[in-house]
């Protein structure tokens, strides 16, 4: 029987009625993204959106990296005049804002956006249009802040934008407005992806994937998404209050009129500390995915790892004050935050021990590039974690706070703890995204260059920080004797930058002419490796049924699957939250251009608000129209049931 013989029926065509070949053809037709500009702007395929996110984040990484290189060149010797304070202050602000808001968080969410639906065995992310919307918001927010920078309107107040320096009195012009609105706006995209991810993990898991069979990477992304939901509103509140103070004359942060400057710091760090874990937790998920594959055994201490993730997620909200030890808070309160900051080292320690135990007891190690980066991660992150313990101590922090010691610490944690796993994850999942392997030879060069460059650039910063060099200075006097070590740091930074050039070359070359990968090149155990590389637009022709936490290792002969979903309309399986029992066949949204228009109108409103508060009023109309366009049913079967 061929699918062409089947007339559409009111209840639709089910996959049970089709042979394998026509099933795939039908599904590909139903789930396809149309070509052309409108099709491009309308796509709601999580893989397409995630790919755009990844490429965009990579471009922002380059921009953020270039701004770091510029700073390092200026700091390579004392009293250098290459870059003046005005540009330097914009550069370090752009570096921070870009790396935190436009690179690290989005790229982690994007990896989740790509992999989570594949790993839990579903056909698309929940709320696909919301995800499409989030990408356009992210892209326009990032472009907005960088265009502002090139128009000499880039924020120059640090990524943290403390008041009163960023307030109406001390930051005239539009630079601080650009910061505030860009923050509020791009966090909308983070929140949107977080919500979609949470619902996907809770409600769209393949039958049988009970809580104890969820891949650790998915757990990590789930916990991260929850942290985002509760942390991001805090920075949005802070930036909104700031913009109100600046644009309509409120006095929330003005101590002269009953406001307070420190409440901004509280709001900022109530977000800012969890932010670190928003970046770090997905990376732990990547490590938890790579380690078992290359150690050829299931992860040691699955439950301990899950509980550690959750513990870190919760504890991350109890540490924010350790960024404020030098503000003169009451001693007792500060001591509490020392204890809580120390406490978070325990679940992080558990994770390290479990990974080491897995590697220790596994089969013969396959020391491929992904695992190499995981070893780099151990080397660097453990050091960064230990300096973190030093910073948790109130008195000790008072000496090193806001010095290069802290710069060293958080680059050890963020680059060692998040970027190294991310690079490993790139080598690991690149075959899934492109169908081609990355070059191992270039990969090894990349690793060693990155590893040596990183340590050369950042290790000496610990020392120069203890020697008294504060952060965020555009120059330093000759007499203090910091010149030599800074030159060394700059050389290391250039080496590190070079490693990324090599990485990009490897990406480009491998995408064009890498070795063909096949479904499961690493012989890994999780569901994303069950589909072809790259995956078809519908992900799974039939939804897999899961009976093990490493289903591909458990089912060597054939894959148990579920049948009975429609093929002529976008249908996904909704399951129960804890046990993942099949519950509903729900429709998944078709492509739509309205999320793009919504992002455009929301973005225009934010942009306009920098120039007049009335933009909020005028912007309400296009926003309302595009949202109605988004949700109004168009008569497709996906809209009606």
């Amino acid at each position: 029987m061929s699918s062409a013989d089947l007339a559409p029926k009111p209840e639709g065509i089910l996959d049970t009625e089709l042979d394998a070949e026509s099933l795939r053809r039908r599904l590909a037709e139903t789930w396809k993204t149309r070509s052309g500009l409108v099709g491009f702007l309308s796509s709601v395929d999580h893989k397409v959106i995630a790919r755009r996110y990844l490429i965009t984040a990579l471009i922002f990484l380059c921009l953020g990296g270039l701004s770091a290189v510029a700073m390092r060149v200026q700091l390579s010797g004392p009293e250098r005049g290459l870059i003046g304070p005005d540009l330097y202050n914009q550069l370090f602000t752009m570096h921070g804002v870009t790396m935190m808001f436009l690179f690290a968080v989005p790229i982690m969410q994007a990896v989740g956006l790509y992999l989570v639906p594949l790993m839990v065995g579903t056909r698309n992310i929940a709320f696909p249009r919301l995800s499409a919307f989030s990408y356009w918001v992210y892209l326009s927010g990032g472009v907005f802040v960088w265009v502002s920078f090139f128009l000499n309107m880039g924020p120059d107040i640090g990524w943290f934008a403390y008041v009163p320096l960023s307030g109406p009195e001390f930051a005239p012009g539009k630079r601080a407005d650009v910061w505030a609105q860009m923050i509020t706006y791009t966090e909308v995209s983070s929140l949107a992806v977080a919500v979609a991810t949470i619902v996907t993990v809770l409600k769209q898991r393949a039958p049988g994937m009970s809580l104890d069979r969820i891949p650790l990477f998915v757990w990590a992304i789930l916990v991260t998404s929850f942290v985002i939901v509760f942390a991001m509103p805090s920075v949005m509140i802070a930036s909104s209050f700031l913009i109100l103070d600046r644009l309509v004359g409120t006095h929330i942060f003005n101590p002269a009129e009953g406001g307070d400057a420190l409440i901004f710091q509280h709001l900022f760090w109530f977000f800012g500390h969890p932010e670190v874990y928003i970046i770090f937790l997905p990376a732990t998920g990547m490590v938890s995915a790579i380690v078992p594959t290359f150690a050829r055994r299931p992860i040691f201490g699955y439950l301990a790892l899950v509980l550690s993730l959750i513990a870190v997620g919760i504890l991350s909200f109890g540490l924010w004050v350790h960024h404020m030890f030098a503000t003169g808070l009451p001693k007792l309160g500060a001591s509490f935050f020392t204890a809580s900051s120390m406490l978070i080292a325990i679940p992080n320690g558990i994770q390290i021990f479990c990974w080491l135990a897995t590697l220790w007891s596994g089969g013969p190690l396959r020391l491929k590039t992904p695992l190499l980066f995981v070893f780099g991660f151990f080397f660097i992150f453990v050091a960064g974690g230990l300096t973190g313990v030093m910073l948790a101590s109130v008195p000790l922090d008072l000496q090193v706070h806001d010095t290069y010691f802290v710069v060293a610490h958080f680059h050890y944690v963020l680059i060692g703890g998040a970027v190294f796993p991310l690079l490993g994850a790139t080598y690991y999942w690149f075959p899934k995204l492109t169908g081609r392997m990355m070059s191992e030879r270039l990969g090894r060069w990349h690793f060693w260059l990155a590893f040596i460059g990183f340590n050369a650039a950042f290790f000496p910063m610990h020392i120069v920080g203890l020697w008294g060099m504060p952060r965020r200075v555009y120059t330093y006097p000759v007499e203090l004797g910091w010149g030599g070590i800074n030159l060394f740091i700059t050389a290391g930074a250039l080496l590190f930058f070079l490693s990324f050039v090599l990485f990009v070359i490897n990406l480009a070359r491998s995408a064009r002419s890498g070795e063909a990968a096949g479904e499961n090149p690493w012989d890994a155990g999780t569901l994303e490796w069950a589909v072809s590389s790259p995956p078809p637009n519908y992900n799974f022709a039939r939804i897999p049924v899961v009976a093990h936490s490493e289903p591909l290792w458990a089912e060597r002969g054939s894959m148990p699957v579920a049948a009975g979903l429609r093929v002529d309309a976008r249908e996904v399986l909704i399951s129960t939250v804890a046990e993942a029992k099949p519950d509903l066949r729900e429709k998944s949204a078709r492509p739509s251009i309205w999320p793009f228009f919504s992002a455009l109108s929301v973005g225009g409103t934010f942009l306009g608000s920098i120039f007049t508060p009335w933009a909020v009023v005028w912007g309400a109309l296009p926003i309302a129209v595009s949202l109605i366009g988004w949700f109004w049913p168009k008569g497709a079967p996906e809209d009606e049931e």
Partner: protein, 339 residues
């Protein structure tokens, strides 16, 4: 193994670098009881953390070097006995981690208490106000005519505790003299208290540690600790009005100063110049630096600073003034006389 040897060599080298440093602005070169306590704490943490790091890396090395039986069969088959042994090791490691953390928490708590106990016997109160980008230093005194205002250079009697009241006039700054004490912020709308004590006479450099705008890099301060008698003499000298010009050039300089835009911001006690937006210049020539540590005090630097403040410290509040060469020389001559 060569890697481990390399690391040990690195550690030795590092210790050498750290012990070799004695900058004027280093947390590892303590010159007061608070910084001494903190330096001990830093070293203790560093050594302990290094040991832990080396232990973990030892395990990593073990993983890389370990001989294994080839296990090409089913990855799901795990040796249950081995799992139990590993569990015990992991649990012990977590326990040890917890113990170390409890120890470090207590240690930092007691260090904090020690710090709080230093200088409850403060003899002197100094109100330090942060400005973009200089420090206003005001010695409080019960007698109004013994209140002293100066800038950027804080003289204290060596061996005695001094209470600093930290305030800000504009944005948040942070006062940090690493060889004497940890940092504390100057927050508008708040007064923070810091006790400073230098064991021995000497000059200790510090600089603003909280990003405060364009010239955050050039907001340094010097703490000058002097023997008591020397300090008292300095204090009495500073209380005096500015010296009268003693040459024609200095007199022209003073008139140019008083008739020009300088008086909009600066104060020179004993003259009509009484503005307090900028640093007090009554005894400017007794100070060691210009523009909050930007330049050493010298005639040439003073001339350069007045001629081109925006070139030397771009963004600073000191405007470029329209002075001809003679006027500039005269002002410099006058200011240079204000010992």
């Amino acid at each position: 193994m060569t890697k481990a040897a390399g690391r040990i060599a690195g550690a030795v080298l590092l210790a050498f670098i750290l012990s070799g440093c004695s900058g004027v602005q280093s947390a590892l070169d303590p010159k007061g009881p608070a910084a001494g306590e903190l330096a001990r704490l830093i070293w203790f943490f560093t050594v302990l953390c290094t040991i832990i790091w080396v232990l973990v890396m030892g395990v990593v090395a073990g993983i890389l070097l370990r001989r294994r039986q080839r296990r090409l069969h089913d990855p799901l088959r795990v040796d249950q006995d081995e799992e139990r042994t590993i569990s015990r090791v992991v649990i012990s490691a977590v326990g040890a981690t917890a113990l170390v953390l409890v120890g470090l928490t207590l240690l930092s708590f007691f260090a904090n208490r020690t710090l709080a106990g230093i200088g409850e016997d403060a003899v002197l109160t100094i109100r330090l106000t942060g400005h973009q980008w200089w420090w206003e230093v005001r010695y409080e005194n019960a007698e109004p005519n013994r209140i002293l205002t100066t800038a950027n250079e804080i003289h204290i009697p060596a061996g005695e505790a001094v209470r600093l009241l930290l305030e800000s006039d504009d944005v948040i700054h942070s006062f940090w003299v690493p060889s004497l004490h940890g940092k504390l912020d100057l927050v508008p709308g708040m007064v923070n208290t810091l006790t400073l004590r230098a064991d021995r006479p000497g000059i200790y450099r510090g600089q603003c540690a909280e990003f405060c705008g364009a010239q955050h890099a050039h907001m340094a301060t010097l703490v000058v600790a002097q023997p008591r008698a020397e300090f008292d003499a300095w204090y009495d000298e500073q209380l005096k009005s500015a010296v009268e010009p003693s040459s024609e050039e200095q007199r022209t300089g003073r008139d140019t100063f008083l008739n020009g835009p300088c008086v909009m911001c600066h104060r020179i006690q004993g003259t009509p110049a009484g503005a307090i937006t900028g640093p007090d210049l009554t005894h400017v020539a007794s100070r060691q630096t210009i523009a909050a540590g930007t330049l050493r005090f010298s005639r040439g630097n003073l001339a350069a600073w007045i001629a081109d403040p925006q070139g030397i410290k771009p963004g600073s509040k000191m405007p470029v003034m329209d002075l001809d060469g003679d006027q500039l020389n005269a002002i410099v001559a006058y200011l240079e006389s204000l010992k």
